[in-house]
Structures are given as structure tokens and as C-alpha cells.
């Protein structure tokens, strides 16, 4: 299991992939990439982790995808499955390992049925494929939303330092551009308020942000909203954005294209607010309200706050 990475630091998603890994066998966690020490510290507290393998990077072995793939291919003989979260880090690294080992990975695994059988969505979630693994080590990336996180425990797994091969030709990391976001992360939020091109007439995402803040939730967007310049692309939910699984998803001014639905199908409750009664999002929503979002969203915020006070 490769420890997950978020902007060069530890990510809470690791515990979800560990849960997937324990369905297959004993789990060693590879803490690699930048701030690998922090990843190791967090990882050794995750239930189901047998040992943490720590990669201590240096100038001689910088934390690049190319170096890590090279390292993992050297360790691969000891393992029957090599797993990572399907995030920007794992989805970049695992297929490169696949190129080195000449094994095609199985990406976006959303269920493990047996040690050699898993499922994954295809066609933007319109179908599910059941895959039988033939070559080992099998290379898998798992959808974090499909696996509940393994618990954090008091016992500490041992940390073993990995001996490193010589570095290979790599891209040079020049820094991150993180979007200033005070709100919860889409991948972990319990509540998400997402906006679509219906916000375009207001030239702003203010109505979405206001409701998200009233609910303590995250802000998400459709590709339509991103293309219209209303939201940054890292807020995009869907087939080619983030897959989310909040308890509550509220979609404002979103039509509900297949590619967007692909990202929200695992949500607990889906709410649609759209003035077009024929918008496809209404058809998959648990609660659908045919209304103008600029009128309904602020009133919904108030009604929810009033209920909270009344409790």
C-alpha cells in the first residue's frame, strides 16, 4: 500500500486504501514522496498496517514519480498486490510501475470480491466491470469513497527504512499552487454544496459559497461552472474531476450530465435545486425542488439555521 499524498503531505485517504488492502492480505505501508516521515507517523497508527516502509529522500534520490516507480518495481517481487488510492499521486505512479513491470493496472477499483476479483465503474459509472486478475503482483488503484477508513489505533506499527536504488531521469518539482480554500476538503466533507452553470447569470459563486458556509460544508462545481470561470478546476466533481461521497450533496443550477453524476453517485442524500423540472439531476435526487436557485438557496440556509436553533 502506497501512503496517499495531498500537496506533498500526508492525506487522510490512506486509511481508506488500507481498509481495501486488508481485504486482500497483510499490509505494508510505503511512506514515500515529500514529507515521508510525517506520512510514516500517521500511517503507523492505522489499524491493519503491519509495518511502515519509510523512504528517506535526499538530493541523491528526490521524491519524483519516476524515482518512486523505479523503487517500487525493485520491491515488487515481495508482494502479491500493490495498491494506492486513486488520487493525483497514486494515479500517476501506479501505471508507471505497470509500464516497468509490464502489467496493466486495474484503476478505480470500487469493490474487492475475492483476492483475484474486483469491480470498477466504466462509461462514467453507467456500467460496472468485474475483473479477474491474472498477473501478479496485481497493480490496483482504489476509489477512496468506496471503502470506509480503517480505524486509528494506539499501537504503533514498526517503521523500517527502505534502501534506495540510484535515481533515474525525472521531472523536477518546482512547487505547488494550492488554491486558497478555508473550507473542508471535497474528498472528506460530510456536506457538499455544488454549483453549476445556473450561477452564470450572477457572474459569481456567492450563492453556493454562502450555503456551504452555513452548513459547514465544502464547495463543489460542475465542468460547466469551471469553464464559465465561476470556480477553479480543483473543485470539479465528476468523471474527470473528484469522486465524492458526502452524507449530503446539494446541487444548485446543475443539469445533471452523466459525467457529473459519475462523481456523486455514492453520496448519502442528493438534493437538486433547479428551475427546469426536466433537468436529469431531479431524476436521481432524493429530494428535488423545482425553483430558482437565487431565491431558494438563501431561504434554505435560513430555514436550516432556524431548525438548528429550534433543536
Amino acid at each position: 500500500m502506497l501512503a496517499s499524498d495531498r500537496l506533498g503531505g500526508p492525506s487522510a485517504l490512506t486509511a481508506r486504501a488500507v481498509a481495501a488492502g486488508t481485504l486482500l492480505g497483510r499490509v505494508d505501508l510505503l511512506a514515500a514522496g515529500s514529507r515521508s516521515g510525517e506520512k510514516a507517523e500517521a500511517g503507523r497508527r492505522i489499524q491493519g498496517v503491519d509495518a511502515v516502509l519509510l523512504v528517506n529522500h535526499s538530493d541523491a534520490f528526490p521524491p519524483s514519480t519516476e524515482n518512486l516507480a523505479w523503487l517500487i518495481q525493485g520491491m515488487a517481487g515481495d508482494y502479491r498486490w500493490i495498491l494506492a488510492v486513486h488520487d493525483a499521486f497514486g494515479a500517476d505512479l501506479i501505471p508507471r510501475v505497470g509500464g516497468l513491470l509490464e502489467i496493466s493496472p486495474v484503476t478505480q477499483v470500487n469493490a474487492i470480491l475475492a483476492p483475484d476479483v474486483c469491480t470498477r465503474p466504466v462509461y462514467a459509472g453507467q456500467a460496472v466491470a468485474r475483473v479477474i486478475l491474472k498477473k501478479f503482483p496485481a497493480l490496483l488503484t482504489v476509489r477512496p469513497t468506496a471503502f470506509a477508513p480503517a480505524a486509528t489505533i494506539h499501537a504503533l506499527a514498526p517503521v523500517l527504512e527502505v534502501s534506495l536504488p540510484a535515481a533515474v531521469v525525472s521531472g523536477r518539482h518546482q512547487g505547488y499552487r494550492s488554491s486558497p480554500n478555508q473550507r473542508p476538503d471535497l474528498s472528506e466533507a460530510a456536506v457538499i454544496v455544488a454549483g453549476g452553470q445556473g450561477l452564470e447569470s450572477a457572474h459569481s459563486f456567492a450563492a453556493v459559497e454562502a450555503l456551504a458556509d452555513q452548513l459547514g460544508g465544502a464547495v463543489g462545481a460542475t465542468r460547466g461552472a469551471v469553464d464559465a470561470g465561476l470556480a477553479s478546476s480543483d473543485l470539479q466533481i465528476g468523471q474527470t474531476g473528484q469522486i465524492v461521497a458526502p452524507d449530503l450533496y446539494i446541487g444548485l443550477g446543475i443539469s445533471g450530465a452523466i459525467q457529473h453524476l459519475a462523481g456523486i453517485k455514492d453520496a448519502g442524500i442528493i438534493v437538486a435545486i433547479n428551475h427546469d423540472p426536466n433537468a436529469p439531476l431531479h431524476a436521481v435526487a432524493d429530494y428535488s425542488l423545482v425553483a430558482d436557485l437565487f431565491d431558494a438557496a438563501p431561504r434554505l440556509g435560513e430555514a436550516i439555521l432556524a431548525r438548528k436553533k429550534g433543536r
Binding site: 519524483s64 493525483a88 500517476d92 476479483v117 466504466v122 462514467a124 468485474r130 488554491s179 478546476s233 431531479h282
Partner: protein, 246 residues
């Protein structure tokens, strides 16, 4: 410098796919249709580099059945200089495609391979980094900005929570994301001109030894359809009762 752009055909993403339990025809669904949207972006990026005078030749390559010739003609009409179809009638797993692309890149002595970040049919998202691994070239996936500066690729990758800035020594493999550009349409005169551009067809040798097999396709788990609420107040009440309010 030459650039290789990898193009695949997929079923039109605007058309819904309906799958019954055990519907193996899904496998063929992606064969024939339109150029994968991300691959058009990759092609646009390559043509843009040529227009800036940074690239000498843009070669489009597909690994697929004869009917994909039509998409390669479209690529030529958009501005690719040459096209290669590595012909096969089998449905390939990504390793076979990556091996074929890697061999083609060596044969053509290209300095850069541009691909899509994922095929929107099977959503594997692996062919770019697998090709890079086979070649031992540096890689950047999900790229939303790309420039060639003094012989390096300067890229921004889309990552969770922001962007990663990378400098890539060439030759390299780059997979393209939606924000990179807006692909052009092929104009009618260019469609006519594309007819006389070179399109080479070579037969890809068969290979076996699969990494996995797809046993079965089925419909996704259906969500039970919900209910209309008449007012904001009713919605707030329902959400409160469902226990999802903070």
C-alpha cells in the same frame, strides 16, 4: 523536434450507455464514434507548439481497427502532418497499447509524446504513464498548462487541492487535461487538404498473456429515485428528519 500524439476513438460521451446484466457488447461500445475528448486536447497542444515554431512535425498515431482511419483523417484536417494506424482487430489492454506507442516513439525518434489523461470509455487513465515507464522517460499526467522553454517542458499538473509545477527534461510523456486548451474544428478546406496527407497503416502483431480479464459487465447500483418537495421549508424539514444537517 517531432511530437507523437496518441488518439483513440470512443463512443460519443453525450450518448447514454444502457447496460443490462452480463452485457458483453459494452466492450465494443467504445470502438468507433468520436475522438476521445482529451486526445483532441493533446492534438491541439501539439499543433499549437508547431504554430509557435517549437516543433517540426506532428505525427498522430492510433492503435485500433481500420475504422479508426476516419478519426486520423480528422486529426490530419485539424493540423497533424502525418498519421499512423497500428492496426489490430482485438480489444487491447493498456499494456499492449503502451508498448506499441513506445515502439512507435522510438522508431519515429520523437522528443515528446502527448496523450489524453484518460479514455472516457473505460476510464483507465494509465496509457500515458505506462508508456513513459516502458521508455524510461519522465512523465507528467493531467497537465493543464504546457510550454516548451529552452528545451524543457514546463507544466502544471492538476492535483487534489491545487496544481503542481514540474520541469520535464525531454524526451518526455505528457497526458493532457481539460483546462489545457480548446481544440479547433477542422475547416472544410483543411478537410479537403487532409485527403492528400500521408496516412500509413501497419499491422500490429497479436499478443496474449493478459494482466487481467473482464469477466462480466453489468448495470451500476441504482439509486432509488426520490421525491419532489414543494417548498424550501419542506426540504429543510426532510433533511432535518434524515439527520444529515450539521
Amino acid at each position: 523536434m517531432k511530437v507523437l500524439v496518441a488518439l483513440k476513438e470512443v463512443g460519443d460521451p453525450a450518448v447514454a450507455v444502457h447496460v443490462a446484466a452480463g452485457d458483453e457488447s459494452v466492450q465494443r461500445e467504445g470502438v468507433g464514434g468520436v475522438i476521445n475528448p482529451f486526445d483532441e486536447i493533446a492534438l491541439e497542444a501539439a499543433i499549437g507548439l508547431k504554430e509557435q515554431g517549437l516543433v517540426a512535425e506532428v505525427v498522430a498515431v492510433s492503435v485500433g481497427p481500420l475504422v479508426w482511419e476516419g478519426s486520423l483523417r480528422t486529426a490530419l484536417a485539424m493540423g497533424a502532418d502525418r498519421a499512423i494506424l497500428l492496426r489490430t482487430d482485438s480489444v487491447l489492454e493498456p499494456l499492449q497499447v503502451a508498448k506499441a506507442l513506445a515502439a512507435c516513439a522510438i522508431r519515429e525518434a520523437v522528443g515528446l509524446i502527448l496523450l489524453g489523461r484518460q479514455g472516457v470509455d473505460h476510464d483507465w487513465g494509465v496509457t500515458g504513464p505506462m508508456t513513459a515507464g516502458i521508455l524510461g522517460w519522465p512523465q507528467a499526467t493531467c497537465v493543464s498548462r504546457f510550454g516548451l522553454v529552452r528545451g524543457y517542458g514546463e507544466v502544471v499538473r492538476e492535483v487534489d487541492g491545487g496544481g503542481q509545477l514540474l520541469r520535464l527534461p525531454l524526451p518526455a510523456v505528457v497526458s493532457c487535461d481539460l483546462g489545457l486548451n480548446t481544440p479547433r474544428y477542422a475547416s472544410l478546406p483543411n478537410i479537403m487538404k487532409a485527403r492528400s496527407k500521408p496516412l500509413e497503416i501497419r499491422v500490429l502483431p497479436q499478443s496474449a498473456d493478459p494482466s487481467w480479464e473482464i469477466l462480466y459487465y453489468g448495470p451500476p447500483v441504482q439509486r432509488s429515485s426520490g421525491r419532489r418537495v414543494a417548498s424550501v421549508e419542506e426540504l429543510a424539514e426532510q433533511l432535518d428528519q434524515a439527520g444529515v444537517l450539521p
